[in-house]
């Protein structure tokens, strides 16, 4: 097995355009790539999308949730530049729905569990050309989906604008809102749960023409799930209705 230290950081210059998966030890090892991640996030979310709440004078966008168990997915192009990014946070630890806007759940409690992660900071550059014929945004979505299936993440919690539900539903995802949309600052936000399934990955692969894996898992392929993976019961509508 190769180790990341022995590889030049310009690995991707040799043609590996993939989603890197970085968390825990792997994130520490690849500290220079993580530096690029903080800067890319600042560029995209603060400078491009105008999320001024998270603006930082040093141009590195990091928050209190970027701990050792946060999973980072920077997507590199063939030139080794970051062109897309996503982050997954374990719901067994503080995350946005539990700590930043719990009011989105009303009096319902947010689903938490070993195999439930929160998907945040999802972005693709707007000027990036397709890689191997596939749009950067499609690769980003499919890469995260592939990783969830690989390590057994059963549900992803997302908080976003109602209209973005269509992006999930129209691309083969099984998606359930966790509550009605409610106002947060000037926007309406809906919390929802997206379930990674093999059928959804197949949808992405056949509709976008993705061949094979999109992931570069790094040196140690370890499960990010805390403790023994438990097969938890999927949150169900009826249960939420009763809550």
């Amino acid at each position: 097995m190769r180790t990341s230290e022995s590889l030049p950081c310009s690995l991707s210059k040799w043609g590996f355009a993939m989603l890197k998966v970085l968390w825990g030890k792997e994130a520490t090892r690849q500290s220079s790539l993580m530096e690029d991640v903080w800067r890319f996030r600042h560029q995209q979310f603060v400078e491009r999308l105008g999320w001024n709440d998270i603006r930082r004078p040093d141009g590195r966008e990091i928050d209190q949730f970027d701990g050792p168990r946060a999973i980072h997915f920077p997507q590199l192009n063939h030139a080794g530049e970051i062109v897309g990014y996503s982050r997954l946070l374990p719901t067994t630890e503080p995350h946005l729905l539990s700590d930043v806007y719990p009011q989105l759940m009303g009096d319902r409690s947010p689903p938490r569990g070993n195999t439930i992660y929160e998907w945040t900071r999802c972005v693709a550059t707007i000027d990036g050309s397709p890689i191997d014929g596939v749009a950067v945004s499609s690769r980003q979505m499919a890469g995260v989906l592939e990783y969830c299936l690989l390590v057994g993440i059963e549900a992803l919690i997302v908080e976003t604008y109602p209209k973005l539900l269509n992006m999930f539903l129209s691309t083969g995802w099984d998606v359930l809102p966790l509550n009605a949309p409610s106002q947060f600052n000037e926007h309406f936000i809906v919390p929802f749960c997206a379930y990674p399934t093999a059928a959804t990955l197949e949808w992405h692969r056949s509709n976008y023409g993705i061949r094979g894996s999109l992931l570069d898992l790094g040196a140690d392929v370890e499960s990010p799930l805390a403790g023994p993976a438990q097969i938890s019961e999927r949150p169900r509508l009826s249960r939420l209705v009763a809550a």
Binding site: G106, D107, A135, S137, S138, P162, K163, L165, N166, M167, L169, S170, T171, L176, P177, N179, A180, P181, S182, Q183, F188, V190, L237, S238, L240, V241
Partner: protein
């Protein structure tokens, strides 16, 4: 109250996910829309500039008279609601956006006529996807007084309705390689003239047949197409490729 909104939304989603036919989804949508005081709705794809809307209709609960008029007058290309939905992916209330004094006369005509059929105001949800425009879901009524919470819940409902209906239609198209329907050349001709907005009498004049014969031919074509009325027969004929755009 906010729990009631969420429950109305969940109820519809549950219905859409379980439904194995389009009627079940439309029925569920009728129930959920009525929770928000909405009686009328339509779900459709958007035709290109030179196309008719007929084959794009996915389902509706418009007054029959209005539906027929909308198709026969080919209003889709002057309808300001459709025009706006092409430019934005945010939902909008007709009275707050498209209905204003600067409205072109042609657009005003469409909106005024809709109002005569009881559709004075409406909430429209454009459905856009990465690969382009997918469609529009509109809710309408005499008055559409919806707090923002309700509009946003309806936005979610509209997205589910559109996606699940489309999936069912796609699945049906895959599963049942179409049982080809044969219309007689005369029946086909009559339906084609219907699509052009001609009355039975006019078609009779064109084809040199009595009005009664024409009505009989159209009824027979409609029943072969399993349509309950003429607009549906026309739409089916387009959808099945019997009439070409």
């Amino acid at each position: 109250m906010s729990n009631d909104i969420a429950n109305a939304m969940f109820e519809f989603i549950e219905c859409a996910r379980c439904a194995d036919n389009e009627e079940a989804i439309l029925k569920g949508l009728t129930v959920s829309a009525s929770f928000f005081g909405i009686e009328m709705f339509a779900i459709s794809g958007i035709p290109k500039a030179n196309e008719r809307i007929d084959p794009y209709f996915i389902g509706h609960q418009w007054p029959v008279g209005w539906f027929e008029r909308y198709l026969s007058q080919n209003y889709v290309h002057t309808d300001p609601v459709i025009r706006r939905s092409l430019r934005t992916d945010d939902m909008f209330l007709w009275s707050e956006t498209v209905c204003n004094d600067d409205m072109p006369a042609k657009s005003k005509l469409v909106m005024d006529e809709a109002a005569e059929y009881g559709m004075r105001d409406g909430l429209s949800v454009p459905i856009h996807a990465a690969e382009g425009m997918q469609g529009i879901v509109s809710f309408a009524g005499h008055t559409v007084e919806l707090p923002l919470e309700h509009r946003n819940a309806l936005h979610v409902i509209a997205i589910y309705a559109h996606n699940y209906l489309r999936n069912l239609i796609k699945r049906k198209a895959r599963v049942a390689p179409r049982v080809s329907i044969t219309l007689t050349p005369r029946e086909r001709e009559c339906i084609a003239w219907c699509a052009d907005g001609k009355t039975d009498w006019e078609i009779g004049q064109i084809l040199d047949r009595s009005e009664r014969t024409i009505r009989h031919l159209i009824d027979s074509a409609a029943s072969k197409l399993e349509a309950v009325n003429r607009p549906q027969a026309v739409a089916e004929a387009f959808r099945q490729g019997i009439l070409k755009l």
